[in-house]
Amino acid sequence: MARSSKFVAKLKYGKITTFVSSTRIEVSKRMEAILQSIYDGILEGKAKVVPAKVQEALDAGISPAQILNDGMIRAMAEVGRLYEEGEYFVPEMLIAARAMKEGLAVLRPHLLQADVKPAGKVAAGTVQGDLHDIGKNLVALMLEGAGFEILDLGVDVPAEKFVAAVQEHNVDIVAMSALLTTTMSRMKDTVEALKAAGLRDKVKVMVGGAPVTQSYANEVGADGYAPDASQAVAVAKSLIA
C-alpha cells in the first residue's frame, strides 16, 4: 500500500487525542495542531522548527509530559518504524533525532520542574578498542526519543568505565556496541567486571553491533540484544518492565 509517511503519521496521531469537553474544542484543536507540528517537524528533521514549536506548546499550556509523549516520543517511534520498513535510512534518522534533541533541550527544564521521570537510565558506549560509534549514537538517540535518560560514555570504553558509570549514576541498563569481530569479545569483559564489582544483579546489559547476534549476546551473558537502533527501544523497555 502506497501511503505517505506523513499520512500514516497523522492517522496514528489522530487516534491519541481525546478531548471531552465541548467548550474547549477550539483550544484543544490549537493544542492538537501544535503537537502535530512538533511530530511532523521531527519526522522531517527540522531542527529549527521543533524547539520553537515546543516553546509554543509550553506557552499554550500543554503539559511537558504531553509534549514529550504525544509530540516527541510518538514521532521517534514512527521514525523507528519507518527505518525498520526501509523507508528511512541513517541520514533521515540522524536529522530526525537532531530535531528531537533540539526540542528536548527546550523541554527538559520543564520536565524536571513537573517531576516527569525518565523511562530509565542507560549508560551507552562502544567497547574498548572500537571507535565505530554511529550505531551506538543511533541507539542512544532512539532511546532518548523513547523517554530514556542517556549517559553517553562515548567510544573505546573500558570495562571499568562501564562499572564506574553503574556505581556513580544509578544506571538501569548498560548498552554496549561493537562493529569489529576483534573487539566484540570485550563485551564479556564488561559483564565479568560488573559481576566482580557485585553489580550484575542491579543492572541489565544489552549489546548490539554488526557482527553481534542473539547467540553471541547469550554467550557473553547479556540480558538483551537488538539488531538495530529501532528494535533496541523495545528491548530496553522489556528489560526494565
Binding site: E87, F89, P91, L94, T181, T182, A210
Partner: protein, 336 residues
C-alpha cells in the same frame, strides 16, 4: 588452468575447473604469517608476503592490495593513528568544519606516502604472480572517501544540510580515485576493487544521486585503462541491487544478508561474488557448515558466480574452515 584463465572463463559464463575463490583476507593474512596488523598495512612487502602465503595455502584465486580505508585520507593529510596490532584509526576528521573543504588538496598517487605504498605492492605482485593470478588494486568510492575525510555521521547529515557542498567534495574525491585507479592499473593491477560501504546506509534515491554516478565514472576510467572493476558494498544492499548493476562493475560483491539468486538476476552480465556469513559460518561454523554454504551460494549464483564470504575473513578463522571452502569449490567444479 591458472587463476587468470579461471576468472576470465567464469566472467564469460563459460565452464571452468572450479569457481574462483575471492575471499578478502587482511587481518587474517597478516596474523597468518605472524605479523602485527600495522606492518601489513604500512609495508607493502609484508602485505605481498601475507597474500602469497594465503593464496597458496587456501587456494585463493586472487592477490589483493586492499588493507584499510585510510590510504587516500592519509595522503590528503588526515591524522591517522596506526596501533601496532590494531586497525588504523582516524579520531579527528580532516574536514571537521565545512570550511575546511577550501583547503583540501588532492594528493598525487605516486607521491602520496600510503597510496604509493599500494602501487609498490601491485608492482611486487606483478613480479611474483603476474599473468597467473589476478592482481587486485583498491580504491575508496567517492562517497566512502568523503566519509573518511568528514566522518560518517557528519557526512550523513551533510547530505541534507549542504548537498552542494557534498557534491563539491564528491567531485574532488572522484578525481583522486580515478587517478589512483589508473596508477594501479598502470602498475599492473588486473582488477580495481572499489569499496563504498557507507552506500548501504542511505536510501536508494540518495545512492542514485550521491554514490552511483561517481562509481560509474571511476569504473569507466578503470575500463579505459584496461582493468576489470569490482564493486564492494558491505551491509544490506537488497534495495539497491539494480542500481549497483548500473555501476559498470564486472564483479559485484554482496554481503551475507542479501539473496544471492536475486543479486545474480539483478546483475545480469556482471558476476555476483559472495556471500555466506563471515562470522556465523566462517568464524564460528564447522567445516561442514562452510562446505554447505559455499556450494549453496554457487548454486544460487549461477554460472558467473564467484565465491567469497560476505565480507572480510575474520581474524582467528579456523584453517580447516578455509580448506573446506576450497574443497567445496573443487568438488562443485568437478560436478559441473
Amino acid at each position: 588452468m591458472n587463476a587468470v584463465e579461471r576468472l576470465s572463463r567464469r566472467l564469460r559464463g563459460e565452464a571452468a575447473d572450479r569457481p574462483p575463490n575471492f575471499d578478502i583476507m587482511m587481518q587474517f593474512a597478516a596474523h597468518y604469517i605472524g605479523q602485527p596488523l600495522s606492518r601489513y598495512y604500512l609495508d607493502y612487502r609484508v602485505l605481498v608476503q601475507a597474500n602469497l602465503a594465503v593464496l597458496n595455502d587456501f587456494q585463493l584465486d586472487i592477490v589483493q592490495a586492499i588493507s584499510d580505508p585510510y590510504r587516500e585520507a592519509a595522503d590528503f593529510g588526515a591524522v591517522i593513528e596506526f596501533p601496532e596490532d590494531g586497525l588504523p584509526v582516524s579520531k579527528t576528521p580532516l574536514l571537521a568544519e565545512p570550511d575546511d573543504l577550501k583547503r583540501l588538496k588532492p594528493p598525487d598517487p605516486a607521491a602520496g606516502r600510503r597510496m604509493s605504498d599500494r602501487l609498490e605492492a601491485i608492482r611486487r605482485f606483478r613480479e611474483e604472480v603476474g599473468g597467473e593470478v589476478p592482481i587486485m588494486g583498491w580504491v575508496e568510492g567517492a562517497l566512502a572517501e568523503a566519509a573518511d575525510l568528514r566522518g560518517v555521521s557528519n557526512l550523513m547529515t551533510d547530505l541534507y544540510d549542504r548537498p552542494e557542498w557534498v557534491e563539491e567534495l564528491l567531485e574532488i574525491c572522484t578525481e583522486v580515485e580515478i587517478a589512483f585507479a589508473r596508477a594501479q592499473v598502470e602498475a599492473g593491477a588486473d582488477i580495481i576493487g572499489l569499496g563504498d560501504a557507507v552506500a548501504s546506509q542511505i536510501a536508494p534515491r540518495l545512492y542514485e544521486r550521491c554514490a552511483l554516478p561517481y562509481e560509474q565514472r571511476i569504473f569507466a576510467a578503470v575500463h579505459e585503462a584496461g582493468g576489470l572493476a569490482r564493486l564492494h558494498i558491505c551491509g544490506n544492499t537488497t534495495k539497491i541491487l539494480s542500481h549497483m548493476a548500473r555501476s559498470g562493475a564486472d564483479i559485484i560483491d554482496i554481503d551475507w544478508m542479501v539473496d544471492m539468486r536475486a543479486a545474480a538476476q539483478a546483475f545480469g552480465q556482471a558476476a555476483v561474488c559472495g556471500n555466506f556469513d563471515p562470522f556465523a559460518v566462517m568464524l564460528q561454523g564447522t567445516p561442514e557448515d562452510v562446505y554447505a554454504a559455499t556450494v549453496e551460494c554457487m548454486r544460487l549464483g549461477g554460472p558467473r558466480a564467484i565465491s567469497a564470504a560476505g565480507c572480510e575473513i575474520p581474524d582467528g578463522t579456523p584453517h580447516e574452515n578455509l580448506r573446506a571452502q576450497a574443497r567445496a569449490l573443487r568438488e562443485y567444479g568437478a560436478q559441473q
